[in-house]
């Protein structure tokens, strides 16, 4: 029975080899170097593959395979075609990778197909650099630990590179963190140098060769995982990009069993709690301002910020240290200057902003990025270096009429390698910016219109009551008084003109213009007194103005006196100039008149003030 099962296995392997060979036998991997970095919670595998086309046909596609348990946890995969060796390595283009169907391959393998930049013809070689990041492959083992124990994790991999092509020479090097290494599978050619574990080199392997290895080691990395992260990026064309991030962070390492003792945690010199983490470091863009860190309770003050011209570093400390299985939630917000992130090209504008969380070393299980564009943006399209799920929404915010368009991008299993820039293109004309101040202006204008309507509208209930009629009469009296006032002001202005003409005369000696000025003022004053007569008549007749009309009459009389005196003075001065008498002579003659004029003027002004106050 044993023999037949071994024979079955061999037959199965042969069948796979036979079935697989027509599709994959053309390429040969001449050299494979694999480096796995497990110093953080994400296992990063970098492979340098030298592909040689030993067949006769040119090949344009390359197949990458991973065992299923790794393929299910693959978060990030990028394949770069590079040239040169060692220090002169130049990365060329990012090649497009897509998941492919496992044609004729067993189900326990995930397959990815890479399209080569140009078809690889017979005998040519090509160097590919593959970077793959896996989450959840560092399994905590033991799964539950107490506070004082160290955090041990386990990595399962294959010492021989699982590939559908034959491999001539390969080596594997695992970079472990600088801590305790519990155990590792010992195969041939295994060396442990410091914290680097090297397997290989192995020569001339068949396709699909696989030898499992397990490494059990202590990890000092913070296993911080954000179960859900909502990033809202609000773009305002008035000069600011506001980013608000809501985090739900959980510690996905070994769970804490037993109790948490704060005393042990803070004991010196041997604190217990190596598996917990306290700080999270966020790298924000430079010139970030108005940074806040709060949660539902309020502001969290345990944070520090350091900024320079290249970045702004924010070190945040949640309200409690996070042990395995513990959760916390918080919100970080910051503002960024607009000109660093919004650009114009070919008639469209685009926002160039990073996609993932700024917290380094944070794995996000569900990432939702909402980019809120200003109202009036049209023709929205998004360019991302990797696949995301897109949708659009509307958000109603300050001073909005129709709402702002929101582009919602969702992605699962995001690792720090995804923290690249995405671009959102849209069309916007600056005229739409004016709609906001116009809304405010119209708001204020409506207030003023209300005031105007209120002062003009007649809200009295009864239109024939004595108080209403008395009010109407008083309004008329006031109107008449104002008109009288304006006429008196005009008369006073005419008097001032006369005085000015006298001064001109003393300066220039021109008698003719002086006389002409007097004539015109005379006619003006006559007109004004004519206008004044009906107003006076009305004031005398109306009963409610009975206490005012004597004052007004007095005012008019005084004004007439002043007029006459001024005219007399003017004539005297002009005559004096005609007779060419000396200045002192003239002054003596008009001295008394001048005094009276001044007194009268003062009285008129007092009366005007009195009328004003009514």
């Amino acid at each position: 029975m044993k023999q037949s099962s071994v024979v079955d296995l061999l037959l199965l392997l042969l069948a796979i080899a036979v079935l697989a060979t027509p599709a994959f036998s053309d390429l040969v991997l001449s050299k494979v170097e694999r480096r796995i970095d497990v110093t953080s919670q994400v296992a990063r595998v970098t492979k340098t593959l030298k592909v040689l086309n030993s067949g006769s046909e040119s090949v344009s596609e390359f197949t990458l395979t991973f065992p299923k348990f790794l393929g299910n946890n693959l978060a990030y995969l990028s394949v770069v075609h590079s040239e040169g060796k060692g220090k002169s390595k130049r990365p060329l283009a990012n090649l497009s990778v897509r998941e492919a169907n496992a044609k004729g391959l067993p189900d326990s393998i995930s397959v990815y197909s890479v399209s080569l930049p140009k078809a690889l013809s017979k005998g040519e070689t090509l160097t590919l650099e593959v970077v793959a990041a896996f989450t959840n492959v560092l399994q905590p083992f033991p799964e539950k630990i107490t506070q004082g124990e160290i955090h041990l994790v386990m990595l399962q991999e294959s010492a021989q590179y699982l590939s559908p092509y034959a491999v001539e020479s390969q080596s594997l090097s695992i970079k472990l963190p600088n801590a305790r290494i519990e155990s590792y599978t010992k195969l041939e050619n295994t060396k442990l140098q410091g914290s680097d574990l090297k397997y290989g080199p192995y020569k001339n392997l068949q396709p699909f060769s696989y030898s499992p290895i397990v490494v059990h080691f202590e990890s000092k990395a913070a296993f911080a995982v954000a179960e859900k992260l909502v990033r809202e990026i609000e773009v305002s064309h008035w000069g600011n990009v506001q980013v608000t991030e809501h985090y739900n962070v959980v510690h996905r390492g070994a769970q804490l069993k037993g109790e948490f003792s704060r005393l042990d945690f803070q004991a010196r010199p041997n604190p217990r709690g190596a598996s917990a983490f306290r700080h999270l470091l966020a790298r924000l863009p430079p010139r970030a301002h108005s940074i806040y860190y709060r949660d539902d309770i309020g502001n969290i003050s345990t944070s520090e910020m350091q900024s320079d011209s290249k970045k702004t570093e924010l070190l945040i400390e949640p309200r409690f240290p996070l042990f395995g299985g513990w959760k916390t939630f918080f919100t970080i917000g910051y503002g960024l200057p607009l000109s660093d992130f919004l650009f114009a090209s070919e008639g469209k504008r685009f926002v160039n902003i990073s996609f993932g969380s700024p917290i380094i070393d944070l794995v996000t299980e569900k990432l939702i990025v909402q980019i809120v564009l200003p109202e009036g943006s049209k023709d929205i399209s998004v360019t991302t270096p990797f696949t995301v799920k897109q949708s659009q929404e509307i958000k109603y915010s300050h001073l909005d009429i129709a709402g702002r368009p929101v582009v919602v991008l969702e992605k699962d299993n995001v690792v720090p390698d995804h923290n690249q820039h995405i671009q959102v293109y849209y069309k916007f004309s600056n005229i739409n910016l004016l709609s906001e101040p116009l809304m405010l202006i119209s708001g204020f204008f409506v207030l003023f219109i209300t005031c105007i309507i209120y002062t003009r509208a007649d809200f009295s209930i009864s239109k024939s009551s004595p108080t209403y009629l008395a009010k109407l009469q008083w309004d008329e009296v006031l109107a008449t008084l104002q008109e009288v006032q304006s006429i008196i002001q005009k008369c006073l202005a005419a008097h001032d003109k006369l005085e000015a003409s006298l001064r001109d005369l003393s300066r220039t000696g021109d008698i003719q213009t002086c006389k002409a000025a007097r004539k015109s003022t005379d006619s003006l004053l006559k007109d004004l007194s004519k206008d004044l007569k009906p107003l006076l008549g009305f004031l005398q007749s109306s009963p409610s103005a009975s206490h005012i009309s004597p004052k007004v009459e007095e005012l008019v009389v005084k004004e007439k006196e002043l007029q006459e005196k001024l005219m007399a003075k003017h004539t005297t001065v002009v005559e004096g100039y005609e007779k060419k008498s000396s200045g002192r002579d003239i002054e003596n003659r008009i001295a008394s008149q001048q005094q009276k004029i001044i007194a009268l003027r003062q009285e008129i002004e007092d009366l005007l003030e009195f009328i004003d106050e009514i």
């Binding site: 305002s236 008035w238 070190l315 690249q420 906001e436 204008f445």
Partner: protein, 112 residues
């Protein structure tokens, strides 16, 4: 004492170097491609540093004109009021007050 202690996160430094090498690599490419497209940055139509000054001045002028409007309303009698003068004053006052309140909102951080 100027730098905060990064002891706890120093173990992650190498890892972040690693990931950021790749990010640097791609972002350099993006920078080149951006320069090719001649993308020029867009800033706000009015320099942001001017917002507080502008808000103070426009609000002050707006309030002065509002005061003129209300004084006219209070001192003129019903017969002598001129609707044109009222509307003109209120229009100018509302323009200044509108812009002033917009700049006030922007200067206090509410980027509408």
């Amino acid at each position: 004492s100027s730098a905060f202690r990064l002891h706890k996160v120093s173990h992650a430094k190498q890892d972040e170097q690693y990931s950021y090498n790749y990010i640097l690599r791609t972002s350099k490419k993006k920078k080149k491609s951006l320069a090719k497209m001649a993308a020029k940055p867009i800033a706000s139509p009015i320099p942001v540093a001017l917002y507080p000054t502008l808000s103070v001045f426009t609000l002050a002028i707006g309030l002065v004109i509002t005061a003129i409007f209300f004084i006219y309303e209070a001192t003129s009698s019903r017969k002598n009021r001129s609707l044109g003068k009222e509307l003109a004053t209120s229009a100018v006052a509302s323009v200044f007050l509108g812009f002033g309140s917009l700049f006030l909102l922007l200067a206090s951080g509410v980027y509408v």
